[in-house]
């Protein structure tokens, strides 16, 4: 269309732009680009005009203003005096937390259900089918609010635990309390703990001024990392590495002698023993929740909102993962199992050596895209009041500051960044598998 406006040159007819293959594709591209730019300019122009009409300006300065609202479930230090910026970070971590937990449980449940759906036990297979169809065909939002309602409506109030004849009691040797305000579980405490490591300390803040004994407050950084957890994670990671080395060694011995040494107890030991030793050294003990007044004190309080979201997202996504796992296993022809069986391999070896390596190639790409869906669906946290990034940046911050454009833009960019990293991992995996196969 706009090619009409292009000035014709000598020895060059207008029609050549569209009929000459040399120019045709260029013309179409230029037209598309100009069209896109006009459209974008039109949008921006409208936006600027409308914002000016409403007396708004575009800017991200509001992020350093005081947020003024509370976030009850958080991984970082945060209070109502913190900035919107920090609220967004806390929200982002909450998003990542529930996405991470959700992906793990969804995978476990999904793999389990997917395999059971293929069971030759009629009843089990049918039950799993019912589960899958029930969750797949009802909106995830409904499952989230439904789970939340179950937590609030059916669990006892903390005061039910009180008095001479309490109507409710704690479970697991009085260590866990299920209440309608959330679940209280024991917390990890360290009597000889190493304290926290402040990250990005702000030298000028009050917390960072050396006290009388010359030490600085632990809470002086932008955020703190628990040195105890860091150490435990480090030792645990070392254990995993050692265990991998033992497996490699078993492979070598098998290659050399044909006999594969039994190593599972050794592998378990190198993970468990050092980790336990560090726990003892740090004076690890559990802090139990206790009923004080009308509520529980001590222990870790898992809020209903987190639990409901976590549970509902896991169960919902697990239904899809189960189908993927089932399809992945079914995609491996029966002939593969028969050929392996005819060679004398036992069923667990057939699974490990023949079926799984092939099925995983079919399973992993759609599995990762379901992780992506779970992460995106975690934005429904807002329906149960879990303060994820949608609840903070896209919820209260947006409503308080009126900076809809900036907030929604940032929100989208955050999710986009998460999505692109996840699909980056997927592409990397696909490339790798392709190379191995051919």
């Amino acid at each position: 269309m706009t090619s009409l406006t292009d000035p014709p040159k000598e020895s060059f007819r207008l029609g050549m732009l569209i009929y000459d293959t040399r120019y045709r594709s260029l013309t179409i591209q230029v037209v598309a680009l100009i069209g896109f730019m006009i459209f974008a300019a039109w949008l921006i122009n409208n936006t600027l005009y409308n914002l000016a009409e409403q007396g708004k300006t575009i800017g991200f300065g509001f992020l350093s203003d005081t947020a003024g609202y509370d976030i009850n479930q958080r991984l970082l230090d945060y209070n109502s005096q913190s900035s919107h910026w920090r609220a967004a970070i806390v929200g982002l971590l909450n998003t990542l937390l529930v996405a991470f937990l959700g992906c793990i449980t969804a995978t476990i449940i999904g793999v389990f259900v997917g395999i059971l759906r293929l069971s030759n036990n009629w009843l089990i297979a049918r039950l799993m089918t019912v589960y899958v169809e029930m969750f797949r065909n009802v909106p995830v939002l409904l499952w989230i609010v439904f789970t939340m309602a179950i937590m609030i409506e059916t669990l006892p109030a903390p005061r039910a635990f009180k008095g001479e004849n309490p109507t409710a009691s704690m479970v697991l040797f009085d260590t866990v309390a299920f209440t309608n305000r959330g679940v209280y579980i024991p917390e990890a405490l360290f009597s000889r703990g190493l304290g926290d490591l402040p990250i990005l300390p702000d030298r000028d803040s009050a917390a960072c001024q050396p006290g009388e004994d010359g030490s600085v407050d632990d809470a002086c950084g932008v955020f703190q990392i628990s040195l105890d957890l860091l150490l435990i994670a480090f030792v645990f990671g070392g254990g995993l590495y050692a265990s991998a080395r033992i497996r490699k060694r078993a492979d070598r011995i098998q290659n050399a002698t044909g006999d594969r040494p039994k190593t599972w107890y050794l592998r378990l030991a190198v993970i468990a023993v050092p980790t336990l030793a560090v726990l003892v050294a740090l004076g690890f003990h559990l802090g139990y929740p206790e009923l004080k007044g009308f509520n529980f004190k001590g222990g870790t309080h898992l809020r209903n909102s987190l639990l409901a979201l976590w549970l509902a997202l896991s169960l919902y996504t697990a239904a899809f993962i189960a189908e993927i796992v089932r399809a992945g296993i079914l995609a491996i022809s029966k002939g593969q199992t028969e050929a392996a069986a005819a060679l004398g391999l036992r069923s667990n070896r057939i699974m490990n050596l023949v079926i799984l390596p092939q099925a995983l190639r079919v399973i992993i790409p759609p599995l990762i895209s379901n992780y992506l869906n779970l992460t995106k669906n975690s934005s429904l946290a807002i329906a149960v009041g879990y303060m994820d990034i949608t609840g903070t940046l896209g919820g209260i911050t947006m409503n308080q500051t009126g900076k809809e454009l900036e907030c929604v833009l940032m929100l989208m960019l955050v999710y986009l960044a998460i999505s692109l990293s996840i699909s980056g991992v997927m592409n990397w995996y696909n490339e790798r598998v392709k190379l191995v196969e051919r």
Binding site: N255, A256, T257, A340, A341, A342, L343, Q358, R361, R438
Partner: protein, 263 residues
Amino acid sequence: MSETAVERQIDRSQMEVSDKLAIQITHMNKWYGTFHVLRDINLSVYEGERIVIAGPSGSGKSTLIRCINRLEEHQAGEIIVDGTELSSDLKNIDKIRSEVGMVFQHFNLFPHLTILENCTLAPIWVRKIPRKEAEETAMHFLEKVKIPEQAHKYPGQLSGGQQQRVAIARSLCMKPRIMLFDEPTSALDPEMIKEVLETMIQLAEEGMTMLCVTHEMGFAKQVANRVIFMDQGQIVEQNEPNAFFNNPQHERTKLFLSQILGH
């Protein structure tokens, strides 16, 4: 259908049938649901025998040899392989399966493993043979089926005939005493059928006990010492190849032969 499998003299020096039983099947019956697929099968296979099982599709011939290494379960009767009775006992099944090799119509190579890995998988994990030794054995058999140069390729990169020869080599790597062939050439193009048959004949010349479900009547005439004709889940006729082809007795056998040989 060609009258011969290969245009060469077959070396019969080692093709001896001993009087030792390799497989004994007595009064074996099998049902799929209520469908009676195998009806009162009685069959004794002696070591060194080369048996061809023929019959129209759906006659139960594949099911019969799949019962021998328990890819299918029989409901009545007895199957004894090399002195071991086939029952639901896993130990017996393992023992029999590692002594009985099987070649499938659709090759069933493991696509995620190289040719060499396909051949060494079972020796390493079942026979507990050191990898190096297993690889040497595998290369030996790959040379025998004439594709040692493909050892590091993946099955998808090979032609059908090559894949089937690898499948035979893979079975041989377990050093089986009996080989079962389930229509090994039905999924192949004509030129490729020849190369697979050549491999099978070579195996026969070395004295392997073989049970082949196949439509290759040339192979039956040249190599088999016995041809079994099955129909409707039962053995209808069995005889030496010459007598079987030249003088069939049962009406069904005559009909079948006239259809398959085209006279």
